[in-house]
Symmetry: C5
Subunit: 325 residues, 5 copies
């Protein structure tokens, strides 16, 4: 589906143009064309490939989707793959949908193709149009603006993961929470890996857009791409931190499970003793020997009961002291 | 076994040629010869070595087989070892056979030798013959086509592993599934390592076929080999992701085992108490003291029974509340 | 809040100057201006940005805060982000507040912005003013002095963590301390990660301030920045050491929990046997068979009791020997 | 002990020469001398050092032995340390003896010193003498032949470890094999580490014998040393694979132990219930109340027994269903 | 405390000189001065700093002590920090004291400062004086001799750790040794980390004293410093090996604890069954039903006893077979 197809000149919008005119506008040196597609059909992609003269390998990647995040250089143009992550619901621990944005950037065009991604880039376009001074940089600046936006959208997701971890950490030493903790820890790890797979290759690729030899379309934008890199690096570091804590938390959780089992065993042992001792005494006075003098005593029965109670009180106090009970 | 022996000129098939004529065709600068062998005999290999003038170390490697994946440069020619993985059956969790394809590539010849690999490369040949424009690149393009095909065949295997993992993850928090989970996790890990050993060295080697100094036969094909590298990188990243999740899953499984044992112990303790208390009371009234007034009471028996039941009901409710039962 | 705004010439203080005059002093080649802010308002930041002509990306970072530690070069100036860590209370295991200091350094100005940080840098300023020979180096030296101070303030925190670890290590083999140990280990790990996130990126960045190409403002100060780097490296190595020991300690703790459960089970088993055997004997002599000769014996009862005691003494001794009791 | 001392010219054997003549033959440019020692005395080493003019640091290393594998360059000569591993017996899981071969290589001599190594290099010598075309390369080729042989001897050991692992893997899910499995896993890990210590430093060092600047004596042999490197790399990758699987196997084994304990606890609980219920019922009818109407019933006893049996059958079936029994 | 202050010329000792004359001797180009201090006072350090004209940052480091091992270049001089490790007692598992040696090396002076280190370097000095040919190299050679000595002193400590590990490994599969094993493993890990912190940074630093650009004072000594590096590398590899085995050993120990608990539980279950069955039978014949025909039988009692014994014998044999007993 075609979302937008606009030509710009000198940082200012010329207006929407028909798809068929793209190749013509792309020819004009002072112009650039910015097209946005959403889940395009095969025909739409083919038309774009023709109008912009895109490299067949890149087009094939964009058509098949499910690429890893990357930035590839084809002569004068770039092919950028970004992953988008969107929570499926508003719950804190909602699962994430893994979408994709493929961007083709040439000296005077930029084409973005959204797959499985709800949120569009209308805000990016309007922000860019409000800053003609920067938009004059051309497609390189739009690429920056798109990447910056995609990366900035990772932050709330990361924050959500951090609060999830904190929530689990609060529960981790609570008794009887082990099962739900371990489930949450595993679910969090799964989501974290999704984010990691979106971030890590992109960070590596972005590092090549500033310093050293830089692709033509990004020239003069070094500080901007370094800023994107820096955000990616921050996310990366936080991910690694959460991952490390997750591993520790899972181990600690294991320890808590063992500990709680140990406590159950102690309780079991203590109560077993408290019940078994009177049972034994009762068993003894239940024997049928003819000559058992205690049985004849008037106070035999109360004495026996008293003994049982005394022993149990003693045991109970002792177990309480050693914290078995 | 000789599968094919064909000469090409200017991207078009000249026709099948006898093995003895190979060395002659290889001489012609505008020609190239593409030979495919399957589990060759020693004699067949020797003949090929003579016709193509192959390096003895490479021939020895191909003869012995069981090489790690690699790409070695001998003067103007390349020796490439690829691993193939084929599921033994159609089951999701089928074991994998580890085959090998050795490829000798010179400026105007390409020789592929298949070992322990069912699936041949007839489709690669016909695809190449349909694209004379690309086939004109010569042996370098055929090398790309073969590598691309081998690598693409890893994807369904990888997908299979991902679904296996998902299946295990669904079972991991299910009670009483620990044993089968742990067995599946281990089996998956074994298969994953097989794939990892096929991928990792190859990725490293493929990185040397584009950018920087590139072997003669691959010149001008940089973007194609980068595409292969990119696929390998994607597989690699997914493998590392699965590996990480496997480690976590095994730990979580361990936690679930401990947890379930803990639950058994709790149940054991609770029922032990429920049975032991009446036994103790019964024991007491089974004592043979002469003066036990309760024994004479008309309602002694019903009262005793009532007490037992009352205590047990109380215990049952309490254990239910604390989730021991 | 503006803390200080002072101009220096030739290593000597000229005196406090109004904010509006900053841009004028910055013009004079032999002068430099040192400004300190604490939790500035938006207006204060804007004024500073204007007076010092700061790069918009850096200013935006400083305004939003929560940056990872870094050193960024913008033409002739540097933007440095440091994290400060301050214990919330005087307790050994007090949690840490994570503050931030953003420093803008140009050829003849230095601007430090403190966020969420109690302790200021008044001592740095007075130390610098006491050493005019060094202060003559200009803003580069002040940058060193600030970084050195921030880094030196990590040491007591690190020492605190080391003593915490030692304290836990002393308790780790003590019985019944497992729960508190595991809680302390986890809390320590959390704090350690905080310190790690402050140190690691900074170490990487500081490495670029000496040796090789060095930013203009740091020229000639190589040995000083190497000294800062060296301190960071020491902290880094200690952190890695603590981290490694923490992992081991958590595992060992897990082992101690299992071990202590094992001991409880042994005790339970031993006492169960000691109680169950007399109960069984008593049960036998409580049977109502008519022909049980022992029941008629005068010494039947004492003999039965003696048997029970003898068996229990034997069991007790044996369990003591095998350390089950 | 002197094993051999032979002079070669143009790839052909000149004949055995007395040790005292070595220095003379070494002088002749077209000649080279190949000496093999086995556990030499101090005097023998000293004589060799004098005849070949060896570097004192290398001689000291060779005398002390217990070096890590390495390849050191001293001006025109090389000092190579290789580790040999030989199984102590024919059993699959036999322990390994860790021997050492020190090789001194100069432009026209090669001296090999074997320590704690049963198997000599007589086969290498005769193989070399059969290939004068290659032996003409001189000492560099002999070095290759020795290294190749030592490395090839690792393969059967590695294969042995792989079969050991497979054997353990077959047992890992077998009940009651946990103890022997864990012992085998640990023993295998110990042996693996021995092999790793022989391989890893050597791989690193061998990488410097081809490509880039290469020591004089190895010039023109690049493809041969790359072949050795390739073998080392393959062993290295296999070791890492085994190591990874070992770690997982130990964890899985731990899980199996927990699982089997869990099963024991379930069985214990089930049987305890089956025995305790009739005991409780019997206890009740063993009470001595005067008014217990059931006791007078003609069918009281059979009914009581029937109840007990019924309850137990019910419990047994239920436990079977939930797999506790 | 001043230990020694000696001037050397041409590799020969000139004689002890007063501290005040140092600066004079240092001036003479063919001379060099070798001073040794032990726990110096502030005044002594200041005097040295003045006489040798040491860099203030290095002097401050030496005064404060507790530096990480490092080698820093200040213009023409080097500042070297080494850690010394000395066992506190003669016991195999004695704790280690962590000392420090700071060495200042200039073109014609060397100053060593020992902190918390019992063993001095008198033997180094006398060894050096016995080899004037080497001592002629000047301060560079003395630096080598000191480093070599410090590094060689690590070997007995490392050997001690290896034997400790072997001792633990022998005990690891012994029953009831789990607690002492785990304590020993942890203590060994602590010592290992101490050694690791002494070795790793030093190895990195020593690598810069040979090959590539080398500090002035070390020129021409490359092979010697490579030898030191090689020793450090060997220690490093051994440490990593021990560390890896320690991790595995701790896991295995955990497995043994679980295993032994499992065995206890089995024993408990088996004996519980053996005692509970007769108790149940006795309970049944202790019931007070009027019509229990068996009670009247003459052989009722012996038969009941016989049944109990038979069942118990059967159970005992069966448990023995399944290894529960």
């Amino acid at each position: 589906m075609l979302v937008n197809c606009v030509a710009y000149q000198n940082g200012k919008k010329l207006g929407d143009i028909p798809v068929a005119d793209i190749s013509e506008y792309v020819m004009r040196p002072e112009c650039f064309v910015w097209v946005a597609l959403f889940d395009p059909t095969v025909d739409e992609m083919d038309e774009m490939a023709k109008e912009f003269d895109l490299h067949p390998l890149a087009v094939e990647d964009a058509r098949k989707g499910h690429q890893r995040p990357k930035i590839e250089e084809y002569d004068e143009s770039l092919f950028v793959v970004l992953h988008t992550l969107e929570p499926m619901s508003d719950a804190t621990d909602a699962a994430l949908t893994d979408g994709e944005v493929d961007i083709f950037v040439g000296p005077n065009y930029i084409l973005s193709v959204r797959h499985r991604t709800q949120k569009g880039f209308a805000d990016v376009r309007s922000r860019c149009e409000r800053e003609p001074a920067l938009l004059r940089y051309g497609s390189g600046f739009v690429l920056y603006a798109l990447m910056d936006t995609v990366v900035d959208r990772y932050f709330p997701i990361l924050d959500g993961m951090e609060s999830e971890l904190e929530q689990i950490e609060e529960n981790i030493f609570v008794r009887n929470a082990a099962r739900s903790n371990i489930e949450s820890l595993y679910a969090l790890k799964q989501k974290l890996m999704l984010l990691k797979h979106a971030i890590d290759p992109l960070m590596e690729a972005t590092g090549k857009l500033y310093g050293g030899r830089v692709p033509q379309v990004c020239t003069g934008m070094g500080e901007y791409f370094r800023d994107v890199y820096d955000h990616l690096h921050r996310i990366h570091a936080t991910i690694e931190g959460i991952r490390d804590m997750l591993t520790t938390a899972i181990q600690v959780n294991l320890g808590m499970i063992s500990l709680s089992e140990s406590e159950v065993t102690k309780k079991l042992a203590a109560w077993a003793a408290i019940i078994a001792v009177p049972t034994m005494v009762a068993g003894i006075y239940g024997m049928n020997f003819e000559y058992m003098p205690e049985l004849k005593w008037a106070f035999g029965y109360p004495l026996a009961i008293a003994t049982m109670v005394a022993v149990d009180v003693y045991l109970y106090v002792r177990f309480k002291k050693t914290r078995w009970l």
